[in-house]
Amino acid sequence: MNQWASFEQFLAMGGYAAYVWPSIGLAVGTLLANVVMARRRHAQALQQALRRLAVNAAGNAP
């Protein structure tokens, strides 16, 4: 059951908004940052590996 009479009350968090919302925000932000950083790291590693393979292939060609 929804515990809140109005959206304003939900935002106010019974007077604890200054503690609850930064906690939620930090957690969600950290979740997102972890995904973005991990995916970027994988994309970079893939690019580097492809470049390395291309250089090797060029080196092996007669």
């Binding site: 929804n2 515990q3 968090m13 957690a27 991990a38 994988h42 590996a49 492809l50 393979l53």
Partner: protein
């Protein structure tokens, strides 16, 4: 016999690279669904706590962050141990891939705990057993990552950091039992204890779903980072050529 084939397969970079790539989207979808439901259930559906009122809702991110930081560390130490003893490269890659996730959530656990402690205990920080041992966990993660980046040689980085990870695992039970062993400001366990959890279902279910979501999230990030680690480690293997040039 079967155990050894299993062990061998999970030590093989091509196999792990492919299986991690196949599993990652499922872990990701599960994590997003569970965390979205858990937040909704915890912030909107759950009734306020009779003592802590709406401030208790911080638990929905604080406890799963604590759980993630501990399970990450334990997995990291086990992987490091396997890497040290059996010299399996993939195991070192797993340990290395887990450190940044664990470190960031050890920090989230401390910061949200601080934000919760201020209105409930009247202080942002106290040198209390639970809080101090969790801070040591963060330092262990940071030390692990610093030690890795201090070595240019990957194998030496693996071995040195693995020793730290394995030794540091003694801190994990200390964190868990600190609230029983010492007088602590921190409340005791409400969910992970032998008898029934001391929470009504409307509060408990979103929290359990959050725990599940954070576990899936950890596996999701692990799969992605592990793939990157394997790409960086497997320089010119033939399987790599076939694998990534087909895909590109």
């Amino acid at each position: 016999m079967a155990t050894w084939t299993w062990f061998h397969r999970f030590g093989s970079p091509p196999f792990v690279y492919r299986i991690a790539g196949r599993c990652a989207p499922w872990f990701g979808a599960g994590a997003v669904l569970c965390i979205a439901y858990g937040l909704f259930g915890g912030l909107v559906l759950a009734p306020p706590d009779y003592q802590q009122k709406d401030a208790f809702r911080i638990v929905y991110v604080h406890a799963p962050a604590a759980w993630l930081s501990l399970s990450c560390y334990t997995t990291m130490a086990v992987a490091a141990f396997v890497g040290l003893v059996w010299r399996i490269k993939v195991a070192h890659a797993v340990a290395s891939a887990l450190a940044p996730v664990g470190a960031s959530f050890a920090f989230v656990c401390l910061a949200t705990g601080s934000l919760w402690g201020r209105p409930m205990w009247g202080t942002w920080w106290e040198w209390d057993a639970r809080l101090t041992s969790q801070l040591i966990l963060l330092f262990l993660y940071l030390g692990y990552m610093a030690l890795r980046s201090a070595h240019d040689d990957l194998q030496r980085a693996d071995r040195a950091s693995a020793v730290l990870a394995v030794v540091g695992v003694v801190n994990v039970p200390i964190i868990h039992y600190s609230v029983y062993w010492w007088n602590s400001l921190h409340q005791g366990a409400t969910v992970m204890k032998a008898d029934k959890p001391s929470m009504p279902a409307e509060m408990l279910v979103p929290l359990l779903v959050m725990f599940l979501g954070f576990t899936l999230f950890q596996l999701w990030v692990l799969c992605t980072r592990l793939r990157a680690e394997i790409l960086e480690r497997e320089r010119n293997a033939r399987w790599l050529r076939e694998e990534i040039q087909e895909g590109a």
